[in-house]
């Protein structure tokens, strides 16, 4: 009789561990997939920027300070890896990119250029996708980290090998740059 009770308790604990484990695995996978989406969009931005810089340089006939800044920021961002390093580098690149888009806005001959227009839209959508992918990544990480630290999962999470995941932070300073009106 008491053997069955002990066995029942063991089975219950086992089932509970399985559900905690599956929940945490699901959360971690969502976060990892979300990070790879950010990565895709960041690479896309790294590829797009030299094109736009080239087209702007050709159209203007000379290399402006904004352009060298963008390229420098871009190269720094390419070199960075992982959420902690990439955050500040990508934030700087976002700021530099806005400068570049602002430059395009202020030159009518650039705005009229079809090549520039197309690249401008591509860069805009990539900027948005980075922001949205980051938003989704941070949401999933928050959900995962909260689940990890909630009772009673917190009792088992660490021993099952589920550590906390870093948020992808871009420093707040970028938001103070006036928004470029794109239409």
């Amino acid at each position: 009789m008491s053997l069955w009770i002990v066995l029942g308790i063991i089975v219950l604990i086992g089932l509970w561990l399985v559900s905690v484990y599956n929940g945490l695995v699901g959360g971690r996978n969502t976060a990892q997939t979300a990070w790879s989406q950010i990565d895709v969009q960041l690479k896309r931005r790294h590829d797009l920027i030299p094109n736009l810089v080239q087209v702007v340089k050709d159209a203007m006939g000379y290399e402006q300070e904004t352009l060298t800044k963008v390229i420098a920021a871009r190269n720094a961002a390419v070199a960075a890896s992982g959420p902690a390093q990439a955050g500040p580098a990508e934030a700087a690149l976002t700021q530099a990119t806005r400068g570049l888009l602002g430059l395009v806005e202020s030159y009518p001959q650039l705005k009229a250029n079809d090549n520039v227009k197309q690249l401008q839209e591509e860069l805009t959508t990539t900027e948005n996708k980075i922001a949205f992918a980051r938003q989704y990544y941070n949401d999933s990480v928050n959900t995962y980290n909260t689940r990890r630290l909630s009772f009673p999962a917190v009792l088992a999470a660490a021993s099952l090998g589920f550590g906390p995941i870093d948020l992808f932070n871009m420093p707040e300073a970028e938001r103070e740059v006036p928004k470029v009106a794109l239409r």
Partner: protein, 321 residues
């Protein structure tokens, strides 16, 4: 805007609701099938059977019919709607901004990118169809692409992506089938009673009917149920539809973090909403703004597919717009 991935919870609730509805739908159909078979056997043999074989056969037939109807609606409903609307699929080069905005919203929702289609009309409207984001389609009118700013377009597309991410389209398909089946079955009950009643009248004229009073009462109850059940079911369907609109507006803001885009888009859509070819009462509930009827705070709300736009905008403003 409490939890950050609220739409995952909305998906879970919708999945469960879809399942419960399907089950209830099948049970109702089976029960009504049994009742009809039972009544038929009773009137033909002139003996009220305690256990009806014909009823069991009819119940099985009705259950099978309801499952088939649901399965067919889920599998082909979106294609039928798309064909009826006359929308055409586009590639990125046809409308790069629209295509990019849909792509952005699928990133924000963490979902695969749905197909993008355009309806060739100057009017402003949009809808989504399909069971999931992967197999789904977002349809917008040409007028919407031309007259809305990027932010406004983003708000509208986010609303449609929210319907897909929340699995609303699937849920509403099953709700629609339930309501249709209840209407059909109520109609069948009324017809059966009509027929059965005349048979009873003929047979009871020669015999003594001891249970006459109870039978009349039962028939009156059945008639009342058959008349009011479809109306009540329709009211429930519309209430669910309005709730899903509010939820999609909220999820849209969760995706874009910019209520102003959707607010000003809704204002423009409200001024320009009008019926156009390919839209009927069968598809009106799909659109972001009802293209057939115009709802204001004064319209009786019980049978409205969409909430009042002013109310939707007020709720969006509360989110910090």
């Amino acid at each position: 805007m409490s939890g950050t991935t609220d739409f995952a919870a909305a998906q879970r609730v919708n999945r469960r609701n879809t399942f419960v509805l399907l089950l209830a739908l099948t049970l109702i159909a089976a029960l009504v099938g049994y009742l009809i078979g039972w009544a038929l056997e009773g009137t033909v043999t002139d003996v009220v059977p305690a256990w009806s074989a014909a009823g069991l056969v009819a119940a099985a037939l009705m259950a099978a019919a309801s499952l088939c109807w649901s399965a067919v609606s889920l599998a082909f409903g979106d294609r039928m709607v798309l064909t009826m609307s006359g929308a055409r699929q586009i590639e990125k080069t046809d409308a790069p901004v629209l295509y990019n905005v849909v792509d952005e919203m699928s990133v924000a929702a963490g979902q695969p990118m749905p197909r993008v289609m355009v309806l060739d009309t100057d009017l402003l409207n949009a809808f989504a169809t399909g069971n999931t984001a992967r197999s789904g389609t977002i349809v917008v009118t040409r007028g919407l692409i031309e007259k809305l700013s990027r932010d406004e377009l983003q708000g509208v597309v986010a609303h449609e992506m929210a319907h897909l991410a929340n699995l609303d389209t699937r849920y509403m398909t099953v709700v629609g089938v339930t309501v249709g089946l209840i209407a059909l079955v109520a109609d069948m009950i009324l017809r059966t009673l009509n027929w059965g009643g005349s048979v009873n009248a003929r047979s009871s004229s020669g015999k003594k009917d001891s249970s006459g009073g109870a039978a009349v009462l039962l028939i009156i109850v059945l008639i009342v149920v058959a008349i009011f059940a479809p109306l009540a079911a329709k009211a429930v369907q519309m209430a669910v539809s309005r709730q899903r609109e509010y939820l999609a507006d909220a999820t849209s803001v969760q995706f874009t973090r910019n209520p102003n885009g959707l607010i000003s888009a809704l204002q423009k859509l409200d001024q320009n909403a009008a019926p156009f070819p390919g839209v009927s009462h069968a598809t009106q509930h799909l659109f972001i703004v009802n293209p057939v009827q115009h709802f204001t705070a004064d319209t009786p709300a019980l049978l409205a597919t969409h909430p009042d736009i002013a109310d939707r905008i007020a709720r969006l403003r509360n989110m910090g717009g």
